[in-house]
Symmetry: D2
Subunit: 335 residues, 4 copies
Amino acid sequence: MTSGPVWAENDQPLKENWAPSEWGADDKVGAVNRTTPTMVLSAAKLVKQGKVATLGKVYQQDMPLYGSRGWRMTIPGLPTYSPIGEQEAVANDEYLAAEIGQVGTQFDGPGHFGVLTSKGHFFYNGRYLEDDDITGYGMGSLGVEHVARVGFVCRGVLLDAVTYRGGRLPIPISQSMDDPGIITAKDVETMIRKQGIDPIREGDCLFLYTGHGDIWHPSMWDTYNAAEKQKRIAEFNAGGPGFGLSACEYLVSRKIILWGGDTAATEAVGRDWGGENAQPFECHIKMMTRSGIWNLENLDLSQLVADKTYEFLFAWSPLKIKGGTGSPGNPIAIY
Amino acid sequence: MTSGPVWAENDQPLKENWAPSEWGADDKVGAVNRTTPTMVLSAAKLVKQGKVATLGKVYQQDMPLYGSRGWRMTIPGLPTYSPIGEQEAVANDEYLAAEIGQVGTQFDGPGHFGVLTSKGHFFYNGRYLEDDDITGYGMGSLGVEHVARVGFVCRGVLLDAVTYRGGRLPIPISQSMDDPGIITAKDVETMIRKQGIDPIREGDCLFLYTGHGDIWHPSMWDTYNAAEKQKRIAEFNAGGPGFGLSACEYLVSRKIILWGGDTAATEAVGRDWGGENAQPFECHIKMMTRSGIWNLENLDLSQLVADKTYEFLFAWSPLKIKGGTGSPGNPIAIY
Amino acid sequence: MTSGPVWAENDQPLKENWAPSEWGADDKVGAVNRTTPTMVLSAAKLVKQGKVATLGKVYQQDMPLYGSRGWRMTIPGLPTYSPIGEQEAVANDEYLAAEIGQVGTQFDGPGHFGVLTSKGHFFYNGRYLEDDDITGYGMGSLGVEHVARVGFVCRGVLLDAVTYRGGRLPIPISQSMDDPGIITAKDVETMIRKQGIDPIREGDCLFLYTGHGDIWHPSMWDTYNAAEKQKRIAEFNAGGPGFGLSACEYLVSRKIILWGGDTAATEAVGRDWGGENAQPFECHIKMMTRSGIWNLENLDLSQLVADKTYEFLFAWSPLKIKGGTGSPGNPIAIY
Amino acid sequence: MTSGPVWAENDQPLKENWAPSEWGADDKVGAVNRTTPTMVLSAAKLVKQGKVATLGKVYQQDMPLYGSRGWRMTIPGLPTYSPIGEQEAVANDEYLAAEIGQVGTQFDGPGHFGVLTSKGHFFYNGRYLEDDDITGYGMGSLGVEHVARVGFVCRGVLLDAVTYRGGRLPIPISQSMDDPGIITAKDVETMIRKQGIDPIREGDCLFLYTGHGDIWHPSMWDTYNAAEKQKRIAEFNAGGPGFGLSACEYLVSRKIILWGGDTAATEAVGRDWGGENAQPFECHIKMMTRSGIWNLENLDLSQLVADKTYEFLFAWSPLKIKGGTGSPGNPIAIY
């Protein structure tokens, strides 16, 4: 027999007073609170060529999926509805079963990531999974619909780490700041300078291109056969380059409102981490659970990279999924 | 025993040569082809106050749903993932089963609506459900991912029929142009003039506010009890005011690229239609199957209406759901 | 901020040493361990007329469902598979999303019911939801597949409480032994005697007919219109007559291996319970969590009742759903 | 543009008058009509040792699945229901999305298999997919619930082809009667004689053990690692030994009521079939579409084989899934 539930002694969120957040105990949306009309007007001025990029990847059954998540879609009937009226109109629906907010291009909302403490499962702004409004049918006050009512309209900033590093970043094998798969605070500043764009400022939405996402290639995926797909899924899921802790602390200090990239986590996830000093998903905790800066993963940044477009108007909102932990997405960049 | 499959004799799409479309036999996206950089730049100039509205409704199990469509969401585990690492990070997913592209705020793509003919089930640009690439697992060339690669960035135009008619429009009871639930071509022109906005032009995205969508109220829905919700669902689903055929023909002639509104069909759907002259969903056929102008239904237009904002930058793309008939959405209006 | 997780102080399972069970700490199946070849041979002798009854109800979307459980089925494609071979064979599948083990005729396995204690969520034989093998993807050692490997072949005994009480039993309004919706230990003994069958003995499978299940009538359901179905669902779900605590204690003492009936809980569930002395689902706890006697609910007993068949060979096993909490079923009675 | 729907010219079902069936034009259940009380009494007499075998395989996400069928199960909440009452009772459900009737141990009912003809998609007893009662939400008159109301109680007969052939049967590479993966009519008769059991007679349920099912081993599956499972799934799905056409014609002539086995099709499915003479799934058509003898696939016959039990009381019914094409199962053998 077990000796009973073992609660964490890691009370960092409690000791450090992560709650209430700077937007008050009732806040349900986090850093997107920072957006002002002035920021929106400023971002709209980035539209200069009249070009549009859609940043979502294609959702399909054989895409890379984390753990046992799934995506199954069928068309009932084909046609779903029998002919009606004189014109004999017919119509189709699609029926989907999926971890809808956590597959493919995916947005991590307030209910996705937290930390176990001695007082329960701590989430953004001091909410706990043990709270009465949070059940197996939805995340209550942590639901993504609250953020989705606000939406993200911001200056989008693209950091092109592939150009910066001279090639696709590898999956990290250590937590050393020198690991070529890790992007540090200094790397961020250097890329900003080299790419010739204004410093990161409050209200920005920041995206990182590592090249790792090209293993699951946005446009070539369906040209691979099943075996090639399997191989690529295994490599894509083995970990991912991305922001290290120093970069995340820096981004928090710059008061951005959204981070994202072309990998499944945006932060660095090592191939062989797990040793004594491992802090898996530390950026997730610092950025999201503590600071309310949500994360938009598995983006298709290829058009922006090809166009060397590093600043743009970013316009997108998650779906208003009541009680959802996240959302699928196909964000719009205009430039 | 049946006498065998009865095929339609209504060969309108064949007789009228609805295919190939004006964008060629290979086209998979329709009217969004019309968008030019000039149009995008022009639309961006509509951002004057720095305000943002999110136009999607909340997705939840007890929202109004058509026919036997469904929305079921659960949270596996709560937390879904056990604590990992020193910080004991935990995380949640949501698992959804739903007609994902045809519930709530919903986009009708090329695979949603067609017409039965003697040669098979005819869809946009002469594709047939009988084609080899279209199966019970996805719509092949009719899939919504093709449109979603392009996206909609356009001048959004809102027609406020509630102000125009002096109150919520009723569900039509006839197909008469005089039925107060039907919006005609002339009504469209009058509203444009009275609202003081530029005429409808090529590349516009046009949205109709009828008030019918307030039966399923965007912000008050969860204040109703179960019985009140049931009653409102019945009324919401009983039909809906909207564009009549003359308006749709007019909109096609104006070369808009998207139509939508606060009802489940955008076009008028009568309470007691079905008689000899009934042409159910005729606008769906004319706008979508014939003309490739897709439809975005069940929008929350309340903020735009309250702000009397009739022109805005509309920025949104459906999800790239491989083989999907449509998409959920939470579009962005910036003004 | 919450004051942290509140754990139960009701440590009945710990104080009363409900674990290990009488079949050892490793046991995963409970009372079905009692079945011997002699019992099976004896049960087979009850087959005298060569008649068969199937005891499951029809699974369909508009059946009564508890809470937010669901049942959605679609046919992908219709046909799902395109013609193959010279004979142009075609085939269909059905795609289902449902709380598969807890809808309609449903079997409660070891992972379905437990009690919160100071040491965690206590389940049969001292397993806890906090155990490592139990996750949001399956019940591990509590999974129904372990019981399903054994199966139930037993003397089926039917108690006809409708004949005994002179009509359909009402939903109880109190916990009084005199409430006409409650069946007591004495009632059980009296029914056995009046129905002229042998006393309940070790290894029996015992079923109770209350008439409440006829609100969701096994054969007439689809003759009702939607409004009638809604009304009946509300009444069916409002509670149910059934065994009271004395009956359950008696059945445990008689060492039966399965209990079931024509209601959603088999035990009495009151219409207005919840007061100071309420012990909701006390029989569930005593029979299942403590004693490993599983429960088969929402049976169609109508043919057995019509035939006045009170003893029969019962042959059925749950599905081997790895990690499932329960199972759907359509048990066989032979007599 | 396609030249329109191409209908089959193979009108075998029409030319041969496969409908109405011998049980009349209204019949929805097929050969199970043959069961008589005498047969049931006779079958019950086969219970001699008091032993029970459960014949279903374990349903789990990583089992072999045909095509794009799936099995996804999650536990909402864990516990799904918060503590209620003084005893703080808690409970769990499982939520499943699956091709429920066509995965794992699976029963093919009347709506599963048919043939394309010039008059539409022909199914058992002259029903067509084009019939009004058959939609993307259910198979109407072809639904499995009709068979499930009757159920299968019969003499179970096990043919042990592994002992007969001296080892696991290979996947056929030809349609030659001499291919070691094919069981002929003569093989059936020889096995019956060698195994020392009574000739096949009307009302029997006949099961074939080929050893192919042990690639997906009933008890060892979870001892394999992921790579080993992948390899075995590929081999299991590559085809399967089983009955050839002569055997099926013979079984029809013997008037059995159910056929099944340890493979995914029961009939032989070749590794490299598809040439000029290929008749894929010809037995499916002859046994089911024409003769109403349904098929129970992917059985776990290991206990019966180990016990050399070739005759037994078989008792099982599919689930009453309204409009389902098939059913999962865990049949009971008693001997």
